[in-house]
Amino acid sequence: MIAFGLVLFTVMIAQSILLLVPIIKRMQFDDLCYQYSARILRNEKSHEQDEQIFTNELEDEGLLNVNCSFQVDLTDEPYAVVISADYPIQYIGSDLSMKEVMLPLNFKIVSMKMENQENAH
């Protein structure tokens, strides 16, 4: 009974830590997205090189299927920044085995310029 209690206790601790990992990863992802978005909103330049650097940086953080697009011309595309990626998270299943699911992470930012354009139409 004590052994069972200890196993359950360990599983709960491990599960709590595993549940906190996606929250921390989400904050890391948002932080990187914020840094690049701020740079893009401040400077209106070509962002092709930025896209590649940013994609590599996210992949180094362990994210998969990274897709990002930084727009300068907002006439066709409503979003100035669109970033999507997947993060493989692990959790303990009901049979006490490790299971893996993909956590989709998305980040989208519109610029006030787009809102102005919509109002002008």
């Binding site: 601790i13 948002d30 909103l41 998305n106 930012i109 310029k113 787009m114």
Partner: protein
């Protein structure tokens, strides 16, 4: 005895784990809101325009229309980042600003608060304010 200790520690662990996850999630939510607000304020700074009225007085923007656009952009940003239960409130105030040469200006200050409807009563987790300075304040005077 051991059984009582294990049961008691488990009963204690459950609320502690829930408390930890809830607070970590609140912290992450506020951090996300803060970042989105900050991006919108950077965008507002880029608007940084001024108009000269007929009586040669300078009208600084953002004005109420710009604040409305900012609120709309902020709402879209919160919604598209899965923060749809958060509602932004953008208000404008005027602040006195004295530059390094002693000249006084009245500048607009944008105040943003984000109401979070997932709490009852509604709570404001994130807020920020920024004085929008026109371009010429960052320029240096050139002596003849």
């Amino acid at each position: 005895m051991a059984l009582i200790i294990v049961s008691a520690s488990m009963m204690l662990m459950i609320p502690v784990a829930v408390f930890m996850i809830k607070h970590a999630s609140d912290f992450a939510l506020t951090a996300r809101q803060d970042k989105i607000i900050e991006l919108c304020l950077i965008d507002a700074e880029n608007m940084n325009v001024q108009e000269v009225n007929e009586d040669n007085t300078i009208k600084f923007l953002p004005d109420e229309d710009t604040a409305s656009n900012l609120q709309s952009a902020l709402y879209t940003n919160l919604y598209s980042n899965n923060l749809s239960l958060c509602h932004p409130i953008v208000e404008l105030e005027q602040v006195n600003y004295v530059d390094e040469y002693g000249q006084e200006f009245i500048l607009p200050e944008v105040n943003v608060r984000v109401a979070n409807y997932s709490y009852l009563p509604t709570r404001f987790l994130a807020s920020a304010s920024r004085v929008i300075e026109p371009d010429f304040l960052s320029c240096e005077y050139v002596e003849d």
